[in-house]
């Protein structure tokens, strides 16, 4: 068990005291029950509390803020005694993570993973994470035990600047293997810096993407893992997905339900995840989900655990890709190049400059400090339709000193469309830092053309469909036609965003999500696809969808209820 503060001496006593064990189990069950009730009020994919982001930190660079926050953490630890949960300390975790990512220069750690499918059916793994920089990371997970006859689930991921090697079992729907499912070994060359296609598992180093835009997570008691004090916070699996994907992105693992509870334990000094435990939340939907997969997940104990047993912040192995073992190779098209002076100078060392070759060539610069990174892409020949580099969809315009920019919904990127160039400024750092870099570029950004999806120019002439008129918590919605569809983007605080789409039609398309379920919406029967965050229904000859990766089903239904036909 990861949760629960248990001193070493108590551990020994517990082993010989049945009554004590029962008492502890009862307390744990009670705590779970209370906790599950609390978590049950959270949205499916991310907490409602994202709306209350404490984003008031003034602009500035990482180091001073990091020092202050880490100092605060240490100070609280020293003076607190730490016999129980400390909400004040937990509340600082999101900002500490964002600010503290520059503090980790090197890391080597070894951990164990326990994966439970159902009672008596368990796999265990030994893993090693080595980090020398955001573009020099290796993650090895080796299965050490498991049911006989099952496909061995050992994986390897090495990121070494412009190369990445991924290896593991061929993913198979059945744990005991598929005919012809030989292990795969894939080498990516020409990998661009901080690639989104072959990402380094950086949230295992400092979980920036987990806590970006996060508010105050519930606190867990302080405990010790791998000889280090750790701060515990409680999240949903949906919130923790970037970290879970970093760990389980390769291989043939069991699924994790987004509503489940994750106890996450972070090194108090460096905020590195040194332990996590995933516990099933009991609900009808989840019961169906687990029945389909053959899982039996008790509410009283974790079905997935990761625990470090040693960790070091110095030394470590050289991270280098050894090729020649039958890899398939793909070329992502990036070439290091002399690009001359960078158009901006963030307060970090530059770590890469080069060119992405393709039909839309782009110059790329990257800077990094510790785990933190910033990247600038610049294209001179982009013609749309749509913001260059925007793969996320919903953006919101921002006013910059020199013109207009567009902020990604989660604050991880800013896009600029200018007369002679198109730019993307992205990174792991706080949005305010990206904003400073963007402002320093002094590029006169323009509003995008009216027929681009990101345009805020309303284009609904002659359209007689549903519109949203009163949606509290979101910017005033603007509807626009995109092809045959009417699209309304909603942007709220933090990362809250949703897209409403309407198209003529009388029935829903076949479901894309195997776990899609029927829901009541606007007096009819709709469908919710959890993996897509997609609510759909047909009404008055129109197929309507509300999609969001951040909002809960209840919030999507609230948005649906607010639609009116003018």
């Amino acid at each position: 068990m990861v949760d629960g503060e248990v001193a070493p001496g108590v551990d020994v006593h517990l082993e010989s005291c049945a009554d004590c064990q029962q008492f502890l189990a009862d307390v744990e069950q009670l705590r779970r029950a209370v906790r599950i009730e609390s978590v049950g009020s959270l949205p499916d994919l991310a907490p409602r509390i994202l709306a209350r982001l404490p984003r008031s930190r003034p602009s500035g660079w990482l180091a001073p803020a990091a020092g202050a926050l880490v100092g605060l953490v240490i100070g609280l630890l020293v003076t607190g005694g730490w016999t129980g949960p400390n909400p004040t300390l937990a509340a600082t975790v999101p900002e500490s993570v964002m600010a503290g990512q520059a503090q980790v220069d090197r890391l080597v750690g070894r951990f164990q993973v326990v994966e439970r499918i159902r009672p008596g059916v368990t796999r265990t793994y030994q893993g090693e994470l080595a980090f020398r920089s955001p573009e020099s990371v290796s993650l090895t997970v080796t299965q050490s035990s498991g049911p006989p006859g099952w496909l061995e689930n050992s994986t390897l991921l090495i990121v070494d600047d412009d190369e990445a090697l991924a290896a593991g079992p061929f993913p198979c729907p059945s744990f005991d293997g598929c005919a012809g499912a030989d292990p795969f070994r894939k080498l990516t060359v020409g990998r661009d810096p901080f690639s989104i296609v072959t990402p380094a598992p950086l949230d295992l180093v400092v979980p920036v993407d987990v806590f970006r835009n996060s508010d105050e997570p519930p606190a867990l008691p302080i405990r010790v893992i791998a000889g280090r004090e750790v701060i515990g916070v409680e999240l949903t699996a949906g919130q923790t997905r970037p970290l879970l994907d970093a760990l389980f992105g390769l291989g043939n693992w069991r699924d994790i339900h987004d509503t489940d509870v994750v106890d996450l334990w972070l090194d108090r000094e460096y905020l590195i995840p040194l332990g996590l435990a995933v516990v099933a939340v009991q609900s009808d939907d989840r019961a169906v989900w687990s029945a389909r997969r053959g899982y039996v997940d008790p509410a009283s104990s974790p079905y997935l655990e990761l625990t470090y047993h040693d960790v070091s912040f110095a030394g470590g192995p050289e991270i280098k890709i050894e090729v020649g073992a039958g890899e398939t190779t793909v070329d992502a098209g990036y070439r290091p190049a002399e690009l001359g002076e960078a158009p901006v100078s963030p307060d970090m060392p530059m770590v890469a400059a080069g060119r992405l070759e393709g039909v839309v060539p782009a110059d790329v610069w990257a800077w990094s400090d510790g785990r933190a990174w910033i990247r600038l892409d610049r294209a001179a020949s982009w013609e749309g339709p749509g913001l260059f580099g925007n793969l996320e969809g919903v953006v919101t315009p921002v006013t910059l000193p020199h013109g207009t920019g567009y902020r990604a919904a989660d604050g991880s990127a800013i896009y600029i469309h200018a007369a002679d160039q198109d730019l993307v400024i992205s990174g792991s750092v706080d949005y305010e830092v990206l904003l400073e870099v963007t402002e320093a570029l002094a590029v006169p950004g323009q509003p995008v053309p009216a027929d681009w999806p990101e345009s805020t120019a309303g284009l609904t002439e002659g359209v007689d469909l549903f519109v949203a008129t009163d949606l509290g918590g979101f910017t005033p919605p603007i509807a626009k036609k995109v092809g045959e569809a009417l699209v309304i983007d909603l942007v709220g605080s933090g990362s809250r965003a949703a897209r409403i789409t309407q198209q003529p039609g009388g029935f829903l398309r076949p479901p894309f999500d195997p776990d899609a379920r029927a829901v009541a919406v606007r007096g009819t029967v709709g469908r919710f696809s959890p993996s897509l965050g997609l609510l759909e229904w047909a009404e008055a000859g129109v197929v309507i969808s509300v999609a969001s990766e951040q909002l809960s089903l209840a919030e999507l239904i609230d948005i649906a209820d607010a639609l009116e036909r003018p």
Binding site: P173, G294, E357, P511, A516, G541
Partner: protein, 395 residues
């Protein structure tokens, strides 16, 4: 027990048909044209008005497995606690060689030596008793006739009183019902007629169940041979309660992309009638894929998806391409592949073999889905290289 089954089926089909009435009123498929990716009109019908006020009860459940139901599954499911009724639907491909209108005038006939491949479903007799009053007469007359779905009737250009010649057997059209009522099948016959036509493969069950759905799904799993997955759906989760519910029924494919006649040429390959080929297929340049032959109705969406990937410098995600139009049966089955219509593509097949899961990059999948192609990687038997058109693009 039999009576109880029928009573329960009455309830479940009442729900089903209620849903049908709500969901298929004016069932329309967007018109297919070469401008499908960038349609210019936005003219929603106003006559459609779903009336359901609550989620359809989970008491009505669909159960299907790939390649047909295993022996004894219907009886096994019927014996489960909480199950009050089970209906089994058989379905197979049947050769249609002639259609005539009410007056005996010829409506459709394929070229010499060819036939129209038609999906025929056979409902057992208990289905007739449980259909609500509105449809009871039509279903009772099934003994020697056929029912068509609204979509199928449109494709056939036939109404009540018309005649279909199936496997040499002249069968009268006794009724035209909403697609959802008949599980989207092109033609529905009785079990007896189905046996005569060779429609004997059990495809899916409709079950009334009162209890815990998770427990039901677990129990169904235990009834299946090891390694055979099953899909369980309730109304609202999928537009048609039928087998293969992740894709459009063949009737809707024909309505959208036209109907061809076929001649089997061996090895599972098919020859399609020339008129359909000339009117519907197009060969054009597609970014990342090169020269591609597809249906004219999906070419634009495919070009848009591939161009989007290329312009995002993600072209390297498409490592190999294995074609779009390919007239053949689905491997190992006597069902027409959607490749025969040219509305599906296979990408990166070597690394995404049928039956295994996937190494496809999520951005490739997301882009294809946004342009209206469903991904086979989530299917009951994964086919992760396969992308099949199911809807106009979603921005």
């Amino acid at each position: 027990m039999r009576r109880a089954l029928r009573f329960g089926l009455g309830v479940l089909v009442g729900v089903l048909v209620g849903a049908a009435a709500a969901l298929t009123a004016g069932l329309t498929v967007p018109p297919v044209s070469s401008t499908i990716a960038t349609p210019t009109t936005l003219a929603p019908a106003t006559s459609l008005s779903p009336t359901l006020t609550e989620p359809l009860p989970a008491s009505l459940l669909l159960v299907w497995t790939s390649g047909g139901l295993p022996d004894g599954l219907a009886a096994g499911v019927a014996s489960l606690s909480g199950v009050s009724a089970v209906a089994q639907v058989n379905a197979d491909l049947v050769a249609l060689t002639d259609t005539r209108d009410l007056k005996g005038g010829l409506v459709g006939r394929p070229d010499e030596g060819m036939y129209f491949p038609v999906e025929v479903a056979a409902f057992d007799e208990s289905m007739a008793e449980v259909v609500p009053v509105e449809w009871q007469g039509e279903v009772e007359s099934l003994a020697d006739g056929v029912l068509l779905t609204e979509t199928s009737a449109r494709v056939r250009r036939l109404g009540v009183g018309g005649t279909l010649t199936l496997e040499g057997d002249d069968l009268r059209v006794e009724g035209v019902l909403p697609d959802v009522v008949l599980g989207g099948a092109e033609v529905v016959v009785s079990v007896g007629t189905g046996e005569r036509l060779g429609v004997e493969t059990p495809r899916y069950l409709l079950v009334t169940f009162d209890g815990d759905r998770a427990q039901f799904e677990s129990q169904v799993r235990e009834l299946l041979p090891p390694g055979l997955p099953a899909r369980v759906r309730a109304p609202g989760e999928t537009p048609f309660l039928r087998h293969g519910d992740a894709v459009l029924p063949q009737a809707i494919i024909k309505d959208s992309f036209g109907e061809f006649a076929i001649r089997e040429v061996g090895g599972g390959d098919l020859e399609l009638d020339r008129a359909w080929r000339e009117a519907n297929l197009i060969t054009d340049e597609v970014a990342l894929l090169g020269q591609v032959t597809c249906h004219v109705g999906v070419m634009s969406a495919l070009q848009s998806a591939m161009t989007e990937l290329e312009q995002a410098n993600l072209g390297f995600l498409v490592e190999t391409f294995h074609g779009c139009w390919n007239p053949r049966f689905i491997g190992g089955a006597r069902s027409i592949s959607r490749h025969a219509w040219g509305v599906a593509v296979d990408i990166n097949y070597q690394a995404n073999v049928t039956g295994q899961t996937t190494t496809q990059d999520a951005r490739l999948v997301e882009t294809m889905e946004r342009w209206g192609f469903t991904w086979g990687g989530n299917w009951l038997v994964p086919d992760a290289a396969h992308f099949e058109w199911v809807s106009p693009p979603l921005p």
